[in-house]
């Protein structure tokens, strides 16, 4: 038998740790709940921090190396803070055939970031998804959690300029507002 869970203090007095604690309690602090708990941490805080990983490791009695291994193995987990806005371009087969690569280069042109990067001012992150399962709407892009279908290079540039605010392209933003 494993020893009873040791009470570990959360890394900070941030109230959001209570949500994470709740999830761990629901699974009886069993080590197999690791992925579920990491999902909760990411959902609550936006990304995974070192402190957060250490806290989860201690609470679930899983070696930190394993927690780190899991957090870096799965694409869904990120250890970098996301930008204020996110733009996820689907690069599944149907979207690829229908022009996802040109969407990526359009964002790169407009915002100067490649996939997986965030603009310096922290306004926009450009991410890619393996497949959103919205192949009927190809090419699809998720802007701040909202799926948009049949996107073209013009419409994606408009959105990106809108996110980047007045400094970069005041004209387009006004048009868009």
């Amino acid at each position: 038998m494993l020893p009873a869970p040791k009470v570990v203090a959360p890394p900070s007095d941030d109230k959001r740790w209570k949500i994470v604690d709740g999830m761990m309690r629901r699974h009886g602090h069993e080590p197999y709940a690791l992925i579920e708990v990491l999902h909760t941490v990411q959902e609550t805080f936006g990304f995974l921090t070192d402190d957060g990983l250490k806290y989860v490791a201690a609470s679930l009695r899983v070696p930190f190396s394993k927690v780190y291994g899991v957090a870096t193995f799965y694409h869904f987990f990120t250890m970098k803070p996301p930008g204020k806005h996110t733009c996820v371009v689907c690069t599944g087969t149907a979207c690829y055939i229908k022009g996802a690569p040109s969407l990526l280069s359009a964002v790169q042109e407009a915002a100067g970031i490649k996939q997986g990067e965030t603009t310096e001012d922290g306004m926009l992150s450009l991410l890619t998804a393996r497949c959103l399962g919205s192949c009927g709407l190809a090419p699809a892009v998720v802007f701040d959690g909202q799926v948009a279908g049949k996107v073209n290079t013009e419409s994606i540039k408009m959105r990106v300029h809108g996110y980047l605010g007045s400094e970069s392209e005041s004209l387009v933003v006004e048009e868009h507002k």
């Binding site: 197999y32 690791l34 579920e36 799965y74 087969t93 393996r130 399962g133 919205s134 009927g136 948009a148």
Partner: protein, 552 residues
Amino acid sequence: MNQDDLALIAAQTKQSDNRYDHVVKVCVAAGCLSANADQVKTQLESELKQRGLETCCKVKGVGCMGLCAAGPLVSADANEKMFQSVTPGDAAAIIDDIVDNKPAPPAIVIDSKLDFFAGQKRVVLENSGEIDPERIEDYIANDGYEALFHVITKLKPLGVIEQVTKSGLRGRGGAGFPTGLKWTTVAKAGGHRKFVICNADEGDPGAFMDRSVLESDPHRVLEGMAIGAYAVGASKGFIYCRAEYPLAIKRLRIAIRQAESNGLLGMNIGDTHFDFRVEVRLGAGAFVCGEETALIASIDGGRGTPRPRPPFPAQQGLWNAPTLINNVETFANIPPIIRRGGEWFASIGTEKSKGTKVFALAGRVNNTGLIEVPMGMSLREIIFKLGGGIPEGRKFKAVQSGGPSGGCVPEQYLDIPVDYDSLASVGSIMGSGGLIVMDESSCMVDVARFFMDFCMSESCGKCVPCRVGTTQMHNILERITEGKAEPQDLELLKRLTGMVKAASLCGLGQTAPNPTLTTLRYFMDEYRAHIDEGRCPAGVCHPAKAEAEVNA
């Protein structure tokens, strides 16, 4: 709950639906939702309220109707009237059409007799687009949970397996392993603890069948799992679903809660001694977790890396207990098989592939969306009749089935029947059901590179042939598309495909060379054009330009 309660719920639901002269169904699956289907639904409701028609006409959110590219979709009067690309502003015109028979603008009307709908045979999707996925009563009114009650009250576990074996159902995840045989193995395995896992980690890019089933008819999957659990002697189940499918997860959770509160999941189901609980587990974006041993490792909270088989999960799976793992569509086929009998199911399809198959038709084809057809239909019929052919009068080049594990089928094989064995004979696989149509604007070398790029980054890194082999093949393919390849690279690429196929640990590596192999086999001229002439026939890659830069 017992069988009488079930019949009562069904009768009450039907009765309350029959009170309405018209039921307007709005698709609220993910595709249509992202095109504002929820606003359309609200607008239709307020339009009816305004006209005081709420008592004779009801608006209902339903699952996927199939023609996803034309969403949001609305249908009424037993699907005789269908509308496409509906905006909230069309609500008045639609109500006019349905209630007063004043035809709506032709731009939003779809002919419900279209081959896309008429050519299908719906078994798995029979409730999709018909029932409200968030109401268990709707599912029960459509014969839901009847099969489960029949099984737990009238059949012995072996009797259930007999029906499944008789049906000839094969695993719908891609490999096509006979389901009856898998169930028998788990049932025979010893031990008091067994598990049932539903594989909803639909990782193939270009495939969205499982997502659609989960979003449109989640109870069907739960019922299939419960029947499976009874047959093999398990009392605990997991659904391993991709985190990328938030709506499917939400509806599954609602369905589980409803089933539990109605006594259809949990302890003593149907007042018998059968217990079964289901939990949803989230994936975290790893393609390899579709492989069963990797999936098990992931449910256990670890990195999703596969292990050698045997022992197969049917003998030693989750927490070393015998585990039944089936795909979403496989479980969704179980309730109709039990209700109508194994022979009925076996009467559909071809000799070795029984039943129907759901395909996600996408890419360069007019009607993109979800279809369910009997096994054995030809690819030509699927693409040109149901799919409506290639847009903009372009020429068909290839259809890719089976995602990164499948191959590209060229025009000369369009007439082969779609079943597990025929597709394998031309170097592709049935796969989970994604069909991506490509026309002359796609470069086949680039497509091969795209899939190899996918496999390279999705390789879990555990075994060397896959980890290193996919990278090497990707580098060669990239050199070819960039016009930097030497003629001997082709020979090396061929040798690598054979090596990776033979030596990899799991299905990911063993099938990763398939897209490359099939394009080498059927589109060698395109490879040659890139290497020898520095030209891309489809105009996708810029091999010559790259060469010019190198020389400059």
